[in-house]
């Protein structure tokens, strides 16, 4: 998948959530441009690898192994190469302090993953459609 153009970088460590997210994106034909990584370190490795092309959107979980989502967000937003990449926080936690902290770091959206599959599916596809089809990025 590395050779193709990556449009969505999905950072998710939970198997179930990962599969459900990919299924939802598949429904709106967005699954083929997704690169899924399993922790924060992998995400940073991908984003800051020499010659890598920035994705059009990053879907970022907060609670991640190795480097957590908040730190990944901070690194993305503080590096000129990636600062303009939209980052959507996609998390299970409805904690207010997470929401405030990530918005302060420059998150573009904060979505709490619904438990119900219908709502979850709708949320993921809407995110995908919005960032891939409706939104026009800065770069």
């Amino acid at each position: 998948m590395r050779d193709e153009e990556v449009e969505i970088l999905l950072v998710e460590d939970n198997e179930g959530d990962l599969e459900l997210t990919l299924r939802a994106l598949k429904k709106v034909n967005l699954a083929n441009k997704v690169l899924a990584v399993r922790d924060g370190a992998e995400a940073l490795d991908y984003l800051f690898a020499p010659g890598s092309v920035a994705p059009r959107v990053v879907l970022l979980d907060l609670k991640l192994p190795k480097v957590d989502g908040t730190e990944v967000l901070r690194r993305i937003k503080s590096d000129p190469r990636t600062a303009l990449v939209p980052v959507v926080i996609l998390t299970s936690s409805a904690e207010e302090r997470d929401r405030l902290a990530t918005y302060e770091l420059g998150a573009n959206s904060f979505i709490v993953k619904p438990v119900e599959f219908d709502s979850f599916s709708r949320a993921v596809t809407e995110i995908g459609m919005y960032w891939m089809l409706l939104n026009r990025n800065a770069s």
Partner: protein, 513 residues
């Protein structure tokens, strides 16, 4: 979260406790004793001095009086002799016997007077010598007068006249007058000196009184001032420390030990230290609790989402190979999963409300109730509800928490009045003058004998088949109201609707549980 940090470190000062300050290190009781005792001792010292000064003055006065007495006596002798001399001449001239009376008086009184005078000046050798001379010459004068008088009586008046003419009487009198005048002059000087001494002693006594009085006032007021100033300063440290403790600031350096205030200060410091410890423990526990809640909120939901999601996918993609019972069972699984997720959310809300600091602001309860009702009754099926919003006063409280209270009470009201033909929900204020509110519905109500279970976590009075819900809503309401220092209660009967009351005291201390 306010951070407490007191009693653990102090600003180090030059070691004041080691500097020897005798008065300030005494106990208040001892200082109080000294406050009374020191002026008393000074009073006694001044009293003794005054006594000595006045005794001296009395003695000086006595000596002065003595001199006056001597002078008076001497003048009396001198006068008596001179009168007698004059009278004798009168007798010689006229032979009128009346003149002799003065001579007889002098003869009788002068010797005894001189004897008295001799005793009065016995301690003075010079004056005693003069008195002896005066005694001799006075006797001679009296003898001469006697001889003269006898000549006249014996009919020899001529001889008496010529005797007077010899001026022998005058010479005898001069022999008396010379020592007498010298005696008088000396005694006069003595009297003056003694008078001066008596005046000086008087002035001394007055000076002692004045100085003693002034010093005593200075001593007493100085002691009182230093006593009260010292106590005020030390009490001031206690007050300041109490304020610092309340504000979470560092305490002042400890008071120099020795008195009761330093004792209180020490106990206060121990208290502050244990409070710091307790606060730190509590913060630690809170931190752990928060981390735990964070994990719960994050990690418990993912598996639920997987169970729900894959059950759904199973129905959607493999529904064809399942019979109706299989699909129903998957439905049961999914419903329970959603309920579980709701339970987790409610528990987290409940736990967060217990830990969160209350930020009191003025809350327009009428507007909040109106908006909250619009949210909970938002879907079409609730549009038929008659919502009565009385003119309720604003409250002082934490806005998100109060919104949670109204959300829970109003959504309960909506839920339980739903079976009614004409659902009616009323929000009003307490009529007894207390700062409080009520939410009333005409729903299915409940039996008051179960009222004690209303506000418990996971306590439900209706079966899940009749009404949905996790049983945490009213527990949240109670927790928020308690944390605002208020109380919450309900009134209902089966089929008669229910009313939930809650109070929000203006300055509620809050029961931080």
């Amino acid at each position: 979260m306010r951070h407490f940090n007191y009693g653990v470190t102090y600003v180090m000062m030059p070691d004041r406790a080691m500097v020897r300050r005798p008065f300030s290190t005494l106990t208040i009781a001892k200082k109080g004793f000294l406050l009374v005792a020191l002026p008393l001792v000074a009073q006694i010292v001044f009293g003794v001095a005054l006594l000595a000064a006045s005794r001296k003055a009395v003695e000086a006065h006595a000596r002065e009086l003595h001199s006056q007495h001597v002078l008076t006596e001497t003048y009396a002798i001198k006068t008596a002799l001179l009168i007698a001399q004059g009278s004798l001449r009168g007798y010689v001239l006229t032979r009128n016997a009346d003149f002799l009376t003065d001579c007889r008086v002098a003869e009788r009184d002068v010797p005894t007077a001189i004897a008295r005078l001799s005793r009065l000046v016995a301690d003075n050798a010079l004056q005693s010598g003069r008195v002896r001379e005066m005694a001799k010459s006075a006797a001679a004068v009296l003898d001469f007068q006697n001889v003269n008088a006898n000549l006249v009586l014996g009919g020899r008046r001529d001889a008496a006249v010529s005797l007077v003419g010899t001026q022998a009487g005058k010479r005898l009198m001069e022999r008396f007058l010379v020592p007498a005048d010298a005696f008088l002059a000396t005694e006069q000087r003595l009297a003056e000196a003694r008078h001066a001494q008596a005046s000086a002693s008087n002035r001394m006594a007055i000076t002692v009184v004045a100085i003693g009085f002034a010093l005593n006032i200075l001593l007493a007021s100085g002691l009182a001032l230093s006593f009260t100033a010292g106590i005020n300063r030390r009490l001031g440290v206690l007050t300041e420390n109490a304020q610092r403790l309340a504000a979470g600031r560092q305490l002042l350096p400890p008071l120099s030990p020795g008195d009761e205030i330093a004792g209180v200060d020490g106990v206060f410091r121990e208290m502050a230290a244990s409070l710091t410890k307790a606060t730190e423990d509590l913060q630690h526990a809170n931190g752990e609790m928060e981390a735990f809640s964070y994990s719960v909120s994050h990690d418990l939901r993912s598996p639920l989402r997987a169970i729900e999601g894959f059950s759904r996918i199973l129905v959607e993609e493999y529904g064809g190979t399942l019979d109706a019972e299989g699909i129903r069972i998957l439905g049961v699984i999914r419903r329970n999963t959603v309920t579980m997720a709701q339970l987790i959310d409610d528990l987290l809300t409940f736990s967060r409300l217990s830990r969160q600091q209350i930020a009191r602001v003025e809350v327009d309860m009428r507007e909040l109730a109106a908006r909250t009702f619009a949210e909970v009754a938002g879907s079409d099926e609730h549009r038929k509800i008659e919502f009565v919003l009385d003119d309720i006063p604003p409250a002082k409280g934490d806005l998100p928490m109060l919104r949670q209270v109204l959300t829970n009470l109003l959504s309960n009201a909506v839920k339980f009045s739903q079976p009614r033909e004409q659902p009616r929900i009323e929000v009003g204020t307490l009529k007894n003058g207390e700062a409080g509110y009520f939410v009333r519905d005409n729903g299915v109500g409940f039996d008051m004998k179960y009222a004690n279970k209303l506000f418990g976590v996971f306590q439900r009075l209706h079966s899940a088949n009749d009404f949905s819900g996790t049983g945490v809503g009213l527990a949240i309401v109670e927790r928020v109201v308690h944390r605002h220092g208020g109380k919450v209660w309900a009134d209902s009967a089966p089929g008669e609707g229910a009313t939930f009351f809650f109070t929000l005291p203006e300055s509620g201390g809050g029961n931080d549980a």
